[in-house]
């Protein structure tokens, strides 16, 4: 599969557009020429070159258009839950950049989950999933909410059995995996394929990076604060947000204690590594679509971006694992004035990607079937089970 990864890796920007019309990919990919895979088409990624090609696609799960479509059906499939009422899409709603607007989510048990539902964007590049980074791949990740008693509450093997009984799925699994036997492994591979397509790269900020958007004065001041490391000894003011949330993807793959509590109730990454230095450390999330993903932090404690900035400016709690950049005693740091906070928030609004949250390719395909009963890809059985939107 090295060729495939190389090939996918080289599809950036316009190159990817050209590829859409490119047919002999299969031969170059050396996909087996037997009937079960010969109709599969590679899924072409489109993203800015600056995102880089450090993907996390397992060799045994290359993306195909058909696999992505199956994964999309499964992402919105409520039968994956014990009550047949919750799908991945319940807590990861497209119009909220795949979050649910709640501090904690409720699944089949009605009990709140332990942490805030994470936004799903640009997961193709993410290397450690969940707030504590416990899963090393999207494939590993998907199994956990499926079987968690407070999320979807059903072992994947039970979900697989339910899907096997439906008319919709066995032919699609046959097409994608060469067998109509539905297994947890195949389910999560398909879901992971769909999730890797959730690329958000067309916000006003991206347009600004391409030279196609002119910042307002407030946005321009916000950008400066966002990217500047403060050095009060030289009268340099800054928020230094980019230190952790920088780069075109607006995150770094790091886990930090951002000073929410002196003694954290939730040990965060320490629970996974057992290391004291990971106490209260959580994933640095992407700021993509940040205006849509309130409430904020791993426990959803902040309802607004104003509260978030107040925290970073004025309320950092020192502890032995606090990120060194955030030390409240650091004389180089400055608190933000109300005007500076407003400027930063104006800038953060540039990360909202309307195309991402309205892209029909990411929406619930079951709803489409009900309303239009047509789909070009792949062929559908007409007796797909009734669904409540």
């Amino acid at each position: 599969m090295r060729q495939l990864r190389w090939l996918l890796g080289s599809f950036t920007g316009i190159g990817a557009m050209a590829l859409l019309a490119w047919s002999p990919a299969r031969e170059i990919l050396h996909l087996p020429k037997n009937p079960r895979t010969s109709q599969l088409e590679p899924y072409p990624f489109i993203y800015p070159a600056a995102f880089g090609n450090r993907f996390t696609i397992p060799d045994n799960n290359p993306l195909t258009k058909q696999g992505v479509y199956l994964g999309r059906l499964l992402f919105y499939e409520t039968r994956l839950s014990s009550t047949n009422k919750i799908s991945c899409g319940s807590c990861h709603q497209q119009h909220r950049a795949f979050t649910d607007g709640l501090p904690f989510s409720t699944g089949v048990s009605g009990r709140p989950t332990r942490r805030n539902s994470m936004s799903l964007a640009n997961l193709l590049w993410v290397r450690n999933f969940f707030w504590d980074g416990r899963a090393r791949s999207l494939e590993d990740q998907a199994l956990i909410p499926l079987s968690h008693p407070d999320e979807m509450g059903q072992p994947a093997v039970v979900a697989a059995r339910k899907l096997q009984q439906m008319a919709l799925y066995p032919p699609l699994f046959k097409q994608v995996f060469g067998s109509d036997i539905i297994t947890p492994e195949r389910m999560i591979r398909a879901i992971a394929q769909f999730e890797r397509t959730l690329i958000s790269a067309n916000s006003p900020y991206d347009a600004y990076l391409r030279g196609q958007y002119v910042l307002s004065e407030a946005e321009s001041r916000g950008l400066k604060l966002f990217t500047t490391a403060p050095a009060m000894e030289r009268q340099v003011r800054g928020g230094n947000c980019a230190h952790c949330h920088g780069g075109p993807k607006l995150y770094q793959e790091v886990f930090h204690n951002n000073g929410l509590d002196r003694i954290p109730k939730d040990p965060g990454r320490r629970e996974i590594t057992g290391m004291e230095q990971d106490q209260g450390r959580f994933r640095v999330p992407t700021l993509r679509n940040i205006t849509l993903t309130a409430p904020y932090m791993h426990d959803g404690r902040f309802a607004s971006l104003e509260e978030v900035l107040d925290h970073y400016s004025d309320h950092i709690q020192a502890s032995s694992t606090l990120s060194p950049e955030l030390m409240p005693t650091d004389v180089s740091r400055n608190q933000m004035t109300p005007q500076e906070k407003q400027d930063l928030i104006a800038f953060l609004h540039l990360f909202t990607d309307q195309g991402f949250i309205t892209n029909p390719a990411f929406s619930d395909p079951h709803l489409t079937h009900l309303s239009t009963q047509k789909s070009s890809l792949p062929p559908q059985k007409s007796q797909s089970s009734p669904r409540t939107p």
Binding site: N128, G133, R134, A135, R136, D140, L143, Q252, E253, V254, F255, H256, I272, T273, G274, M275, E276, Q277, D278, R281, S320, T321, L322, S323, P324
Partner: protein, 154 residues
């Protein structure tokens, strides 16, 4: 589900240790005592604060030698396409080419420091930090070093 299996393994060693893996003859996991027992050197270098500090630690090249990395006379031919990825416990990563570390190529000593100005490195920085002298930016002075991977560029 590999994380479920990995969890108890991680829990067993709650003390920071340094793993050296990849294109090495002998993969290592160096506990704190082992690193303390290695010969230490001292260098003076300027940190982000612009001030000179005295750092004490083990030359990075010595750690790589312990793991049997191709250095010295062996650092030629295809071995020149190897690189060293240094990883911090928070996930930060920085990269070096082997000739940046090997004294046959360079006069500068990159140090895996465990002390600064006579004191152990503080929380959030230590137990180990790379000191890379004579660089204009200290971005590769990676804190809380947890792992070193030697790899071939593909």
């Amino acid at each position: 589900m590999t994380f479920l299996l990995a969890f108890p393994l991680f829990s067993l060693r709650a003390q920071p240790a340094l793993a050296v893996t990849g294109e090495v003859a002998k993969p290592l996991t160096l506990a704190a005592e082992a690193i303390r027992g290695l010969p230490h050197s001292e260098i003076t270098a300027k940190d982000r604060d612009g001030k000179e500090h005295r750092y004490k630690g083990v030359p990075l090249v010595d750690i790589l030698r312990l793991a049997g990395v191709s250095l010295g006379g062996d650092l030629r031919g295809e071995n020149l396409a190897k690189y060293v990825l240094v990883k911090a416990s928070d996930g930060y990563e920085v990269l070096f080419a082997l000739p940046e570390i090997d004294p046959d190529f360079t006069v500068r000593t990159i140090l895996l420091a465990d002390a600064a100005d006579g004191a152990p490195l503080p929380q959030g920085v230590g137990p180990y930090r790379l000191i890379v002298p004579d660089e204009k930016k200290p971005a590769r002075w990676i804190r809380q070093v947890a792992a070193i991977e030697v790899r071939f560029a593909k």
